[in-house]
């Protein structure tokens, strides 16, 4: 398991308090609609501006929940590399992300632990913010390899405790 493409973060490279590199993304109507349709979410507030404004009473169409999760997944695994395996994500939505917003993703390592099966787990506090205000926060639990020989994706049954 030493392929340069698949090599990523290992447990010895992570410590509590470590910041994840920020990711900034300008959001357009296309961003919102692409995400909604990719997640098979046909609800009109994610593609119909008139409906969003006049029925939902919000400023515009907005990023849907499953696409929000996909952005978080991308952000986290950009950092861990492909051997990072998500176990759990808990989202708290405070406000929506609209076209014209500049979305800023940030994160910090809250804990690093190894469970009884030898799986290394990170707990991450990650967030999407717009103009310095958190719109969605996410507490994520992700397994990363203990070392270059380990691979969390090989874990099943009792050896996978998300």
């Amino acid at each position: 398991m030493s392929n340069a493409v698949t090599r990523g973060l290992t447990a010895d490279q992570v410590q509590v308090g470590q910041q994840l590199p920020t990711l900034e993304q300008d959001v357009t109507a296309t961003t919102v609609v692409l995400g909604a349709l990719a997640s098979r979410d046909w609800r009109p507030m994610h593609h119909d501006k008139d409906f969003a404004i006049n029925r939902n009473g919000v400023a515009n169409i907005f990023i849907n929940t499953p696409n929000n999760a996909a952005w978080f997944e991308r952000y986290i695994t950009d950092w861990t590399g492909p051997r990072g395996r998500l176990g759990r994500m808990k989202f708290k939505m405070s406000s929506s992300v609209f076209p014209g917003d500049r979305m800023v993703m940030s994160g910090v390592v809250k804990s690093v632990d190894t469970d009884e099966s030898g799986c290394c787990w990170l707990e991450l506090d990650v967030a999407v913010s717009v103009e310095g205000v958190v719109s969605t926060s996410c507490l994520a639990r992700i397994a990363i390899p203990e070392n270059d020989e380990d691979n969390p994706w090989s874990r099943k049954a009792d050896r996978w405790q998300p």
Partner: protein
């Protein structure tokens, strides 16, 4: 002020903890939606784009874990289907049964088990876990409820659970 929110009817309270809407994904898992999802968020993880990497790490191609709910959203239209086809039907039922016309998803928790692979056929069911007392929030007055969506693959393996915390409400009369 809105009209008073009525008590929770006994038949609605009786739904709490009951397995509802057991269903199978309407098409086998396929990579097209995986690529669409990765493209929508510019996810370049080689696990999803490079079959050799997927083979090395996961024994073959898989879908991103956060796509779990994608596989259960109904087609917008299907032959013989009437009315709007909705995912998370237990949520829309509660909106109607509790006479709360507006709703938002206030929180969501995902737990991931076995990876989902192309060709898999998944089954799911929905369970209403709780319905709150009447609450007044900045968007209106209503109730919170929690719904679990549990998912297994064709081998009976646990694929994941999707828990939604929802607020059904009435907008304040202006």
């Amino acid at each position: 002020m809105s009209d008073p929110i009525p008590d929770i009817p006994a038949e609605v309270q009786a739904l709490v903890g009951v397995i509802q809407y057991e269903e199978r994904s309407t098409f086998p898992i396929e990579m097209g939606y995986v690529y669409n999802t990765c493209a929508a968020v510019q996810n370049g993880n080689p696990l999803y784009w490079d079959a050799a990497v997927a083979e090395e790490l996961t024994g073959g191609q898989i879908a991103p874990p956060t796509m779990m709910s994608v596989w259960f959203r109904p087609h917008y239209w299907a032959p013989g289907a009437e009315g709007e086809q909705k995912a998370l039907q237990a949520h829309f039922d509660l909106k109607e049964l509790l006479d709360l016309p507006e709703a938002i998803i206030a929180g969501n928790e995902l737990v991931f088990g076995e990876p989902v692979r192309p060709g898999d056929v998944l089954t799911t069911h929905q369970i209403v876990r709780s319905i709150s007392d009447v609450k007044t929030t900045k968007v209106g007055t209503g109730r919170f409820w929690v719904i679990d969506v549990e998912c297994h693959n064709q081998k009976g393996e646990f694929v994941g659970k999707d828990t939604y915390s929802c607020l059904g409400y009435r907008r304040p009369k202006s």
